[in-house]
Amino acid sequence: MSLLNAYSVAAAALIAVGAYCVASKRNLIKVVMGIEIMTTAVNLNFIAMGLRGGVLDPLASMYAAVSMAIGAAVAALALALIVQAYRHYGTLDSSKMSRLRW
């Protein structure tokens, strides 16, 4: 299938890396980095899917651009919350702030 090119395989691998990072890391900054890796992977996958016969569908680049903007908004909010969490707990370790059982 033409959908399976080097880019889409790389994107799937990055998704796995990002998901592993979100699931296993205790440090909240690293969790946000995992989310960012996944966002990048999805953007890459949009570009990979938009390649048809060597030509890039402009729709795909638009999707990736909009998705980047949304990802930036989510990351900004996540980091703002992490700053507040650090002020409350004095640590970035999610297992030490588990008053609500993560």
Binding site: A41, N45, F46, L59, S67, L81, A85, R101, W102
Partner: protein, 493 residues
């Protein structure tokens, strides 16, 4: 007038809120931002109640083939539900949030959250749906953490953000694969392309990814763990929004993706049904041991999402087998339960918000007897509890009955017989604990807990009346719900 005008109104008024908040504070009118929100949501409600069905291109001159909007009976029901609950919550907030810091931001986020949800219901394109989805989610995270000077909202908001973003990214990945397979993200084009694709493996994979992706926000088990933390941590008005409508937007996205876009494939119906049964069992059992009233209600929301998923699963399975009558019953039952639960749980969170406002405690033993001393709040919450318990004349009974009817049509299948038994056991268990909570709230006379201001009991009374009106006009409501179900599944019923 089309759906783009409703969205333009909501986005435009969100700019007005910033100005109104600044001006209002300077002139000593702290509620100015609230009044603008109420006015905007009232207008949006009036506009969206009369939207004609059809497809709309908001930017026809540019020739961009995306951002198409649609109006059909299902999206109309959902967007009406979102705007009307948003309006009542905005009215309630006028008094409930009085004197809090950052009210301008609160109303701005509330209005944008409603805009995002209405956009989810009205979009006819998967990527547009995702954009509105993120608008709804990001504002919801911020609203959960609105009282950021306490530890609980920050931690709950962070947990909600991480889990829900993970889900949204998986859904976006599925959308990118769909775009790769079909070359478009338009709902109607995708529906016709996937109908002729004939590759069941791809459809199953995409359905699984989309169910997980949207399901985290819809709080299906085992991804529901953010919900019982986020709902109690948020202000009660926002809990009512989250539990009443935000998780329903997740249900809508799942229904639209699995029932409308992807062709019926064997196995997915069982998946939906058993995920639903797991969700309602987990929710009901966890609710039993809660002493915090908001956690109790949050777990019961998880259980109710389970009933809705069971209805959708039964409808999906019946649709696959060509039994249109039972397919429509299952999905229509799920939609009626969406309406019932949105009204009932919104009502209950507003009522507990009032009780907590007066008594300053979330523990159920402290709230005992407040049903007697706070007359209007007490009676409204009684109606809400009876409606969700599914006591026969009320609408909550009929939605569960419709779902059970959808399951009963497939009773020759042992897996479905088992599902029906678990479903009924769950419904009985839920009825039991709702009645138990009702009895505790009314058991003895509390001291000194007076009724709250009319701005707070007004929305409660309106929601209680809506529950009763829904019951009285059930035959009319059922016509709309059935039309909505056939629009959602794309079948002629």
């Amino acid at each position: 007038m089309g759906p783009q005008d409703v969205l333009a109104l909501l986005f435009g008024s969100s700019l007005t809120i910033i100005v109104a908040d600044r001006l209002g504070r300077r002139l000593g009118a702290a509620r100015a931002a609230g009044y603008v929100t109420v006015a905007a949501l009232t207008t949006a409600l009036l506009m969206s109640s009369s939207l004609p069905s059809g497809r709309y291109r908001p930017f026809p001159a540019t020739g961009i083939p995306v951002a198409e909007l649609r109006v059909d009976e299902a999206s109309r029901i959902f967007s009406l539900l979102f705007t009307s609950l948003g309006l009542l919550v905005a009215i309630y907030s006028l008094k409930y949030m009085e004197g809090e810091e950052g009210l301008g931001a609160y109303y701005l986020l509330l209005l944008l959250m409603v805009a995002g949800m209405v956009g989810v219901a009205l979009s006819n394109d998967l990527f547009t749906l995702y954009c509105f989805w993120e608008l709804m989610s990001v504002t919801a995270y911020a609203l959960v953490a609105f009282r950021w000077w306490h530890w609980e909202p920050v931690e709950a908001g962070l947990k909600y953000l991480v889990m829900s973003t993970l889900g949204a990214l998986v859904a976006l990945y599925a959308i990118s694969v769909i775009y790769g397979v079909a070359g478009t993200t338009n709902f109607d084009e995708l529906r016709s392309i996937f109908a002729t694709l004939g590759d069941e493996g791809v459809v199953r994979l995409l359905a699984g990814l989309l169910l997980f992706g949207f399901g985290v926000t819809a709080a299906i088990a085992p991804f529901h763990t953010w919900l019982p933390d986020a709902h109690p941590a948020a202000p009660s008005s926002i809990s009512a929004m989250l539990s009443g409508v935000v998780i329903k937007a997740g249900v809508y996205a799942i229904a639209r993706a699995l029932l409308y876009i992807l062709p019926p494939t064997s196995g997915i119906g069982y998946l939906l049904m058993y995920v639903g049964l797991l969700t309602c069992t987990v929710g009901n059992l966890a609710a039993l041991r809660q002493l915090d009233v908001k956690r109790f209600l949050a777990y019961s929301s998880v259980a109710n999402i389970g009933y809705i998923m069971v209805g959708m699963g039964a409808g999906y399975r019946a649709h696959l087998l060509g039994l249109t009558q039972f397919a429509l019953a299952g999905v229509a039952g799920a939609m009626l339960h969406v309406i019932n639960h949105a009204l009932g749980k919104g009502l209950l969170f507003l009522c507990t918000g009032s009780a907590i406002h007066v008594i300053k405690s979330r523990a159920i033993p402290d709230l005992e007897g407040c049903g007697r001393s706070m007359r209007i709040t007490g009676i409204s919450s009684a109606i809400g509890l009876l409606n969700l318990a599914g006591i026969p004349p009320l609408a909550g009974f009929w939605s569960k009955l419709l779902i059970a009817y959808g399951l009963a049509g497939l009773l020759w299948d042992p897996l479905i017989t088992m599902a029906l038994i678990v479903f009924i056991a769950n419904a009985v268990l839920a009825a039991g604990y709702y009645i138990y909570l009702l009895m505790r709230l009314f058991r003895r006379r509390a001291t000194g807990a007076g009724e709250v201001s009319p701005l707070m009991w007004g929305p409660e009374l309106a929601l209680a009346a809506a529950c009763l009106i829904l019951t009285l006009l059930l035959s009319h409501v059922l016509v709309h719900v059935y039309t909505g179900a056939s629009a959602l599944m794309g079948v002629v019923g």
